[in-house]
Structures are given as C-alpha cells and as structure tokens.
Symmetry: C2
Subunit: 482 residues, 2 copies
C-alpha cells in the first residue's frame, strides 16, 4: 500500500496543477519524452503503438472514401514556397532552412515542409492535363517541421507527425463537397468513434483560417481543463494555389480551366487530446479502440502456486490474443498492487486478475479502468464478456466527454459575464459576433479567448455583437485554446 | 493493335538500354516521378501502395520477433553526431544542415538524420539504468536524407524512406544473436518470401562495413542486368556507441557495464530491386504478395451488352474483394488491348477478362502476367483458382530469379578471366581474397567490382588471392553493384 501511494505521488494533481499533471502523465506512461533538441520529442513505443492504432482507423476511412497514399519530398525550394503570397507569409516565420549539403553551400535554400501545398501543387501542375485526370485524391503520412518558440509534448512540437490530404477537382462544388466529406464522414467519425472525443464543427473566421485558403472548416474538442483544442482542419483552397502554380486542365467543353483544390490534416497532437479529455488523477484512460494494450493480465502469484497461476495466465492470454490486444505482466519484484497502479496509470481499459482463489472457482476478475468496477467472470464466458466490456467502456468514455462538453457551453450577451466565465469556468461561450476582425482581436487581447468556430447550425434569431453591440445574426463559439 | 504497339514503344528496350528501361518503367508504371528538387523523387500512389504492402510484411516480422516501433527526432545536433568518430567521418560529407529557424540563425547547426544512431544513443543513455531495462528492441519507419551527387529513382535518392532498428543488450553474445536473427529470420524471410528475391548473405569487409560498427552483415541480390544490389544490412555495433554515448547499466552482479548494440535497415531501394529482378520487356512484374493490385478485371464491352458485362464485372469484383486486392478498369475510350498492355506494364499478376462469350458459358478468362498463360475458369471455381494461381506466380517468380542467380555465380582464380567476366557477363564471381584492403581497392579501381560479402558458408579448402596470389582460405563474392 505504501508503494502504491508512492507511485501515484509521482504524478502531479490534475485538479491543482493541470499542466504539470499532463507532462507527468505523458512521461510516466512513456508516451513520449524530451530530447536535447529544443522542441523535439521522442515518441516512445507505448505512445507510438497508440499512434499506430489511431493511424489505422483514420487511414481506413481515408481509403474508404477513395483516397490513396503517396509520398512527396521533405524539401521545398524557397522559390516554390513563395509562389502563393498569403501562404508564404503565414509560414515563413516558422520554417527551418537547409543551407548546406555536406560542405557545399546550396544555391537556393530549402524549407523543410511546414505543410506540403507548394511541393504538391508543383507536381499537380505537371500531372493534370485533361478533365480525365481529375479528381486527384491523395494523402500522405509524414513528418512536419515548424520552428515553434514555446513547445509542449504532443500539443506543440517543432517536429510532429501528421497526415495531409491534397485533392484537385473539376468544379467548385466538387471541392466544397470534398472539404465537408473529410470534415464529417472522415474526421468527425474517426475522432468521435475511435478516440471517443466529441467535437464541435464549423467554419474558421478569416483571421483563423489556413494561410492561402478560401475558407477552413474545423473540429474543436474540449479538454478537461476547460480549454479547447483544434482537433483537425479541412480547407477549401479555391483556385488560389491553382493560379499560383498554374494547375490547368482541358475540360470536356474544350475550355482550359484552373482546378479547384482542398487540403486537410490531423496530427499527433490528437494523442495529447486523448490524454487531456479522458485522463484522471490516476493517469491515462485510453479508449479501447486505440489502446495499445486493451487487456492487461496480472497473475497474483505466491511461491507455492506460482507455476499454476502463470500457466493459467498464459493460456488465457493465448485465447484472448485472437481478438484483442492483450499482454501479461509476469515481472518479478513488483507487488500486484504496484502493477495495478502502473497499468491504470498507463490507461489500459481492462485489467484481468487471476489468482489461486479465482482458479479454484474457474473464474477470473475483470476490473474496468473507467469506473473501477470489478466483475467476476467464468472462463467460458471470458471472450464475449471482454468484448462487451470494451464496447461499453468505449461508449462510456464518449458519453462522459459529451456530457462534459454540453455542460460547458454557456451563452451570454454580456461582455463582463463573458470575461468572468473565460477566467473562472472556461469552456465554450456561445454568443453573437459582428464579423469584424477588430472585435475579434480586441477580445483575444483582453481575454485570451478566440473564436473557435462559426458553427453550421445557426439560429433564426439575431442578437448583438458581444464586443461592439452591433446587430448580428452570426453565432460563434469563443474559448481559450491550446 | 497499332495503339498497342505505340504503348510498348514508350518503354526503352530492356536488353539494349537497361538503365533507360528502368527509368521508363518506374515512371510509366507511375511508381515514382522526378521533382524539381535535385535528387528527390515523389512516390506516386501506385508505388506507395506497393511500399505499404512491403512495409506490412516486414513490420509484422519485426514485431513478431519482439520489437516495437517508436519515433525519434529528424534533427541531430552537430555535437551529437560528432561523438562517435568513425561514424561522423562516414556520414558528414553527405549531411544536409539546417542553419536557420525562421529568421533566426541557430547557435548550433542541425543535421537531418542520415541514420539515427547518434540521436537514439543519446536517449538510450538516459533510459538505461539497470539490467532490468534491457534488452531495448526498437524500430522506426522514417525518412532519411543523404546529400548524394548522383541519384537514380528509388536506388539512390537524396531523401529516402526506410526502417531502422536499434537494439541494446546485456551481452556481446545476445547482440550478435540479434544481428543474425534480423538478417535471417526477419530480412531474408521477408525478401525471399514476400519480394520473391533470392539473396546471398554474409559479412561485409572492413572497407564496406557501416561507419562505427564492429561488423556488418548483408543481404545481396542480383539484378537482371548482372549487377548486385545491397538489399539490407544488419550491424553489430559492439560497444563503440555505448562508450561514445555513455550507455551503462548496473548488471545483476552489481558491476556497471556498457551495453552491446545492434542496428539494421532496409529502404525504398527495394522497390527498385523489385523492378530490376522481375521486370521484362513489357514492364513491371510484381510478386502477388506485395502487388497493389493482384487481379485487374477488364470487361470486354460492346455497345449492346455493355450493361450486362459491367454488372457481371462488378459482381465478380465484389466476390474477389473479400480475399484479394482487385480493381476493375471501366474506363471509356480505351480498347481492351490497350488496357491489357497497360496493366501488364504495371505488373499486375493476374488479368481477368470477362466478355459476352464467357458470360454465356458461365466462365471468365484469367491471364498470368509471368507466363502469359490463359486459363478459362468457371465462376464457381474462381476464388480458389485465383488463390492457387497467385501462390503459383509468387513461387514461379522466386524460382526463376533463384535460377538466374545460380547461373550467374562463376568461379575463377585467374585475374584476367575475372576481368573478362566482370566486363562481359557480370554476375557474381566466387574467389579467394587475402584479406588486404590494398587488393580490394585495386580490384575496385581496375574492374569496378567490389566484395559484396564474405559468405557464411566457407569451404575447407584454400586457394590463392585473386589479386596478389597469396595463400588464403577466405572465399568471397565479387560483383559490380548499384
């Protein structure tokens, strides 16, 4: 018991010091670690296993909607990056530049991709000739570099991993449909069903949109400290890049036209979202669909029955392995209690305890990470019970997070109340905004809250801009954000 | 028919101009394309689909042998890279250097990883404390940059994709066992069984080993132009890096000791090997296990039966989709003959033709890419026949390549004959070598042939060094190589 307490003490209190709790959980659960390189982290096997499961679920959806994966170069020559004016302006301040190859100074310096529109458009302009070549529906899973000043494990790192989709279409309508299909059918489905994170979707304001896009759609998730996190974005690029990079096609009507494009991405910061949405004082709490270990078997061993219990544990592992990601903890020198705590901290959805008493009764004990509930299960019912419980845990995590999100959306038309809510309760504030960048900037300056999105569901009524009081029919969500 | 000929004409003759044939096939089959960035290619969806299947087979074997995936940073500070002297000497000439982050000059320049020993060792020194922390068995799938002067699609590119394993062990013996396990159980099994490429395995000479390793084991494959290609390497690093990076552990006997390490890698150049081992005058020929499309359905449509044939094609696709990677080519404006040629050129193992005559008889026509053989199959037997044929094609590709390899191993103890063989027939020469770097260098200089490996199977007999004539018992394989 003393050892148990010691263990938990290594993680800061979530309630008292959320930022430290976050870092402690990420590091103690061995999701990631710092390196000597400023702003760069190492994703450790447990964190990478999680990312691999996340990738699998999203990659499947990307492919089911007709996209294929490809790989474009890491380097973007400066002249290419400069072709779309807004785009370079948005990204230049955070670009890492390669200036030497071996001992040779390069004639033109190379950006390490901060996003790949420029390099991909330069190739699309070569590949697209006729309407028969369209649409192009490509995605890539790659590393990205943005030279950030302030960094946090997973949430904001100089280098991160992501997928970026880049499509080209014949018509404006087709591009807009693609942008929305990715938002709802791909991203929202993935984030809500696999990660059990409820999201609010909508459009970004001009100030917050992607550099070079016509408009940006976003998925926004509420972390359990009341701050929002942008979980993914889908951009309708219009013809901005097509014109800058000269991507033209001969249409069926024999007219030469510019293509319409989209791009969209989600990153390893979603690992951070998983930690912050579901975690608790005891550490991580992972949704079964993406957990690297879904069931951890902890044999309760005493000297005299060690062999039998181990054998039983191994035979259970063999049975469960067919359908689940299951591991067994047979380490010597750690008490069962210590192991329980460690696997709870690492967020494993189900613990399976097996000891001599259970064996005598032909049963095992299952313990849920989300509720702490203990369930004795007969061996012959084990596989089906595990399946049911994992499904139930997945659902429960989503339901809890959804409830928390709904409870933390507040409406106000009073700026003083707005400021109080942002300071004390945080969460989302639903209110009217006049549409001016000026009001948006001032609110950000005074409260650190930004417009997370203009939701698709607008109301018939109208109201007054929360800042200037001007009549407006545009409802928006404000929040502080990561 | 005229159109058919046109199509094939776009690929250079393999026999007359192998290098051009290679580039034509890679580009026409849309495996990869050049970019405006010197030495960097784009891997197109068809090539990346192939790479994904290759990754899946190798990743499974890496995990089955107890390794897990992780992700280490792209950047290596210059001071870290310099810690192991031989290592930096080997890699410094081809390192790309980042010197600016945004508009800020960096205090220390950063190498883009040419391989990750330095960054990974710096973290192992932090993670390893006791014998309980060992072994560490990690792998990563990442991009690598080496500033090459002469580049070729897939075979040698400034940026390429690879997996690199990095392990740390308690004892010299354990590290050596790991090095050999990767070579035989993982790499050889993967390359021979999935890629259908037979290899010769053995040890590299001191001249050819990895910079910083104790010794390097290699897998060498013969391309159909008679040149060899290094298909993968597995390095026993000894304690060189452990000492340079101070990776120590407290052993069970309470002594502090340096760990023993290994590293090992295979790259996207294996895609190039697939092209050069199996391809023919008509283009690619892909092994079924990794082919992005295993079966291509080509409906033979005339105006009056178009609808029925299309429906039948779709229903066959639905049936085969459960077990195979299958696509249907329903493009208008191309003749069946043109489609046949295109999919042959892209290396699809089986073509399925379905037309009104076949439909009337309740059958389809299957055509093998490897032999050209046509097989009429009743619909009810289709799935099982496709399975058998794909297995058979996989085996046949390996058998042919194996025969070609065996026919192209020649023995000689006469240096003039050696020179003639290398010039005219190429392939491998099995001969004795005295062990001196001097002889090795001179042979390379005079014939462009290098020692590909010192095979594990040595003979009891001895002979004379092919260059200096000194008595030697070391048999080696010489060849020209990519």
């Amino acid at each position: 018991m003393e050892k148990d307490m010691e263990f938990v003490k290594e993680i800061a209190s979530k309630e008292k010091n959320f930022p430290q709790w976050y870092v402690d959980v990420v590091r103690k659960a061995e999701l990631a670690d710092y390196t000597t390189i400023k702003g760069c982290m190492v994703i450790r096997p447990y964190g990478y296993g999680l990312w691999e499961n996340m990738q699998a679920g999203l990659d499947r959806r990307i492919k089911e909607t007709g996209h294929k994966n490809a790989y474009f170069p890491l380097f973007i020559p400066e002249s290419l990056l400069k072709k779309e004016a807004e785009h370079v302006e948005g990204f230049a301040p955070e670009v890492a530049w390669v200036t030497y190859g071996g001992s040779q100074k390069l004639e033109e310096r190379m950006a390490i991709r901060p996003t790949s529109e420029a390099i991909i458009c330069s190739l699309y302009s070569k590949w697209v000739r006729s309407w028969r070549d369209l649409p192009i529906l490509l995605n890539q899973w790659v590393n990205i570099v943005r030279w950030e000043k302030v960094t946090r494990l997973f949430l904001r790192t100089t280098e991160f991993l992501w997928q970026e989709g880049h499509t080209a279409h014949k018509s404006e309508q087709e591009a807009e449909e693609e942008t929305l299909k990715i938002l709802n059918q791909v991203y929202r489905d993935y984030i809500e069903k696999d990660l059990a994170i409820p999201v609010i979707v909508g459009r970004k304001t001009e100030k917050e949109k992607f550099a070079g896009a016509l408009h940006t759609y976003t998925l926004e998730a509420l972390m359990s400290d009341g701050k929002m996190l942008q979980a993914g974005t889908s951009h309708n690029l219009g013809q901005n890049f097509a014109k800058a990079f000269n991507i033209k096609f001969l249409d069926e009507d024999q007219q030469e036209k510019y293509v319409w494009q989209t791009s969209w991405g989600t990153t390893t910061r979603l690992v951070g979202a998983l930690v912050m949405v579901h975690g608790d004082e005891r550490g991580l709490k992972l949704p079964p669909k993406v957990a690297p270990v879904q069931v951890i078997i902890v044999p309760i061993m005493f000297d005299k029955n060690k062999k039998e219990v181990l054998e039983k544990g191994e035979s259970i592992r063999t049975i469960l392995k067919k359908d689940f990601r299951v591991e067994i903890d047979i380490r010597d020198g750690y008490t069962p209690g210590w192991k329980f705590n460690e696997w709870e901290m690492r967020g494993v959805p189900l613990r399976l305890e097996i000891g001599p008493k259970d064996m005598a009764q032909g049963q095992v004990m299952l313990v849920r990470r989300d509720t702490g509930e203990k369930i004795a299960v007969k061996e012959e019912k084990l596989a089906e019970t595990v399946k049911e419980l994992l499904d139930n845990i997945q659902e429960n995590l989503f339901t809890r997070a959804k409830k928390f999100l709904e409870e933390n959306i507040r409406e106000t038309s009073d700026y003083n109340e707005f400021k109080k809510i942002i300071e004390k309760q945080r969460g989302l504030i639903k209110t009217y905004w006049c549409g001016s960048k000026d009001c948006e900037d001032k609110i950000k300056e005074e409260t650190k809250a930004s417009i997370r999105c203009i939701p698709f569901e607008q109301e018939e009524a109208s109201g007054k801009c929360i800042y200037c009081g001007k009549e407006s029919s545009t409802l928006v969500y404000f929040a502080r954000a990561y």
